[in-house]
């Protein structure tokens, strides 16, 4: 069975919690004691209906304020697939938590209220999903019951969203008319909307093809940990452990190690259960090479005829996540990229992108909390990277403030050079 990780964004008003609640409830993933607990809490809080948001808003502060602050993970399964839901907040001030949940998602659900059409929040969510290159975007046009299940209402919102999405880099876009409250097109096909020919949401989630979303072309193996048992039994064993970040590795493959540039051949791909014939992402394996060369954590093993960019200058989009200080040119930060850690300087802040209008404000001078911009960085050591659009593993990084140790930015590499 395969996994699908999907992210939802929105606030209670969009019907996000109702939708998640319904998916969990209809797939029998809510347990009796959980249901009893939220029924009791709902009553205590004076809600007329059972408040399904309580299923995912697990923190005291969230319950008090009735909002989602941080990402919650929920799990459910059908006979076809296992699902991980990253339920993320919709408010601008929690964008960084939304990005946390979205970074590993295969698919994003954007909820739109059929009565209100595309609003600022839906544009922001769609933009962030495309910025993080979530391969599949599903727009749930919700509360169709409140517009009399009218096809025209659906088409109007769909058209409006399409016009906006043309400016985004979205490869797979699906629209589903639904009423999460009444269950129309969530798990079962709606009898109220016979004009809709597509799948209900759950069926779409079960069927959407994701295994080709990963990069299986460019072989990339960031060395994470060197295994040297130094026991009598494995006296000379030297293995390079890590997670395949792209492409496929096989015993006998000729490889090059960066930054040294030494070439060698894959002698074997080891796991606890024995050697394997091939390794692809996201497998965690141990490579042994035929030659004894100096390799350590942070090095990159790849193929001689297909190498990542290697350099100290890179262009990237960053989302700034610090509430204590803004990003400014000349700032120095720690960078974590694949298994390599270095320091970088912000050499240029070219523009800030308005996440609601996609308008570029040139030379903004600084980026504040939850703001997104294009920067040039120079690192103390060469990094081995691909464009984020080509490889999410070798194209992403985080920036860390060395004084507070906080993670202050998420970065997506656009290219190399200054």
């Amino acid at each position: 069975m395969e996994f699908l990780r999907f992210a939802t964004a929105g606030s209670v008003d969009d019907g996000k919690s109702t939708l998640i609640g319904r998916l969990l409830y209809d797939t029998k993933s809510i347990f009796q004691d959980q249901m009893e607990a939220i029924e009791a809490t709902s009553k205590q809080m004076g809600n007329e209906q059972v408040n399904l948001a309580l299923l995912t808003d697990g923190l005291r502060a969230e319950r008090e304020q009735g909002i989602t602050i941080d990402v919650a993970y929920r799990y459910f399964a059908t006979p076809k697939r296992k699902f991980i839901i990253a339920d993320t907040p919709g408010h601008t001030q929690y964008t960084r938590n939304m990005i946390t949940g979205a970074s590993t998602a295969d698919l994003a659900l954007v909820l739109i209220d059929a009565r209100h059409g595309v609003v600022e929040q839906s544009r922001r969510h769609a933009f962030l999903a495309s910025l993080l290159r979530i391969p599949h975007l599903v727009v749930c046009i919700n509360k169709m019951d409140l517009v009399d299940y009218d096809e025209k209402a659906f088409e109007t919102v769909k058209e409006e969203f399409r016009n906006f999405a043309m400016k985004l880099d979205v490869t797979d876009l699906t629209f589903i008319p639904m009423s999460a409250l009444h269950g129309d097109n969530v798990v079962d096909r709606s009898e109220n909307m016979p004009w809709y020919q597509g799948s209900p949401l759950l069926h779409h989630l079960e069927q959407v093809h994701i295994s080709s979303d990963r990069n299986h072309v460019d072989a990339r193996f960031p060395v994470q940990y060197v295994i040297r048992p130094q026991t009598n039994e494995h006296h000379d064993y030297r293995g390079y452990a890590g997670t395949v970040a792209g492409g496929v590795f096989k015993p006998g493959d000729e490889v090059v190690v960066l930054p040294s540039g030494f070439t060698s051949t894959v002698a074997s791909i080891d796991t606890f259960n024995g050697p394997v014939d091939e390794a692809f992402g996201p497998m965690s394996v141990t490579l042994r090479l035929t030659d004894n060369i100096d390799i350590s954590r942070g090095d990159m093993i790849c193929r001689p005829n297909n190498q990542p960019h290697a350099g100290q200058d890179l262009q990237a989009m960053v989302c700034w996540m610090s509430d204590t200080k803004p990003l400014t040119p000349r700032m120095k930060l720690a960078i974590k990229h694949t298994t390599r850690t270095a320091r970088v300087m912000v050499t240029d802040l070219q523009y800030q992108l308005d996440v609601n209008t996609l308008h570029r404000q040139m030379a903004p001078g600084s980026l504040g909390l939850n703001e997104i911009g294009r920067v040039t960085l120079r690192s103390t050591q060469p990094l081995f990277f691909d464009e984020y659009r080509r490889n999410r593993n070798t194209g992403s990084f985080v920036l860390i403030d060395e004084a507070s140790n906080d993670t202050v930015a998420a970065g997506m590499i656009v290219g190399s050079g200054v």
Partner: protein, 304 residues
């Protein structure tokens, strides 16, 4: 022509993610440690850790926070696994903390050493200067845990601040610390109870006998079957009867309940877990029932 699809099963994906996390911590921290209770989650953790570093031995010790209220079957299992793996075991004893006057034992029929574990754990972290502790918590267990990061930052009092967690993107983990701070690491965050059992079955991992149905003298309290033991004070209404039960979770004997069950094999357990309508913590943990936010409150103080 064969078409390779490059698909991994969900268990393979979960395993790969966990192994990645174990290696990342071993590479970046000075003094990691694996919390090991002998429960099914920590057993799977130990198995995953062995896989991560094979053919080398574990590059960190195990630690058991021992409330003194153990199931004898589980202690025996713990010691045998330590022997087999050649790992080093650190025992942090709640009894010792009580004897030293660091904590005071609760009294009355509801007395539990659950809360006392936190002090014992934090003392041990300080004594051994551990900077990263692997724990077997899963996000599907409880709503506060559903919110927690894989790398959960703790300040020098061991506190968790749920409103101010570090953003955690892709598989890039930020483990930077100042002196005295540490992180709790949860490599099996994304596993569910059913995944754990399916993995135990697939990997043929031995587990303590209390997980299988057996005859045990028990009494009913709060809709749970508690084992008769020297660690629990019964009221006159709480009558002991022998029943066929098994444990879904293994913790302190005084607050871990058994469930009625006939499941005597892993297959039967999987069948039972697949069909159950009650969460494992709801069914078996008195400590989570204190209040709506019992887990969040304990975690803020430094609990697992």
């Amino acid at each position: 022509m064969t078409i390779t699809t490059y698909e991994l099963s969900h268990l393979d994906q979960l395993e790969a993610e966990s192994v990645h996390i174990f290696r990342e911590v071993a590479a970046e921290f000075e003094r990691p440690c694996l919390l090991f209770s002998g429960g099914k989650d920590s057993i799977v953790m130990l198995h995953l850790a062995q896989k991560a570093f094979w053919p080398a031995r574990l590059p960190f010790p195990l630690m058991h926070v021992d409330t003194g209220h153990n199931f004898p079957e589980v202690l025996e299992y713990r010691d045998r696994r330590i022997e087999e793996t050649g790992a080093r075991l650190v025992v942090a004893s709640v009894q010792q903390a009580i004897d030293d006057g660091r904590v005071a034992e609760e009294t009355g029929p509801r007395a539990s050493r659950n809360r006392l574990q936190t002090t014992t754990l934090l003392d041990a972290i300080e004594e051994h200067r551990f900077d990263a502790l692997f724990g077997g918590a899963r996000r599907d267990e409880e709503k506060a845990r559903a919110k927690e990061r894989v790398y959960s930052f703790r300040d020098d009092f061991g506190q968790w601040d749920p409103k101010n967690q570090r953003p955690e993107l892709w598989n890039l983990y930020n483990g930077r610390l100042n002196q005295g701070e540490h992180i709790r690491v949860f490599p099996i965050s994304n596993w569910t109870e059913l995944d754990i059992w399916q993995y135990i079955q697939r990997e043929n991992i031995e587990i303590p006998s209390v997980y299988f149905a057996h005859q045990r003298p028990v009494f009913s309290r709060d809709n749970m079957w508690l084992s008769e033991s020297p660690y629990v004070t019964r009221s006159d209404q709480e009558e002991v009867a022998t029943r066929m039960v098994r444990y879904r979770t293994v913790g302190d004997m005084s607050c871990t309940g058994a469930v009625e069950s006939e499941a005597q094999t892993i297959e039967e357990i999987i069948e039972e877990v697949s069909a159950t309508r009650i969460t494992e913590r709801g069914a078996t943990r008195a400590d989570d029932r204190v209040s709506e936010a019992a887990m969040e409150d304990r975690k803020k103080e430094g609990y697992f």
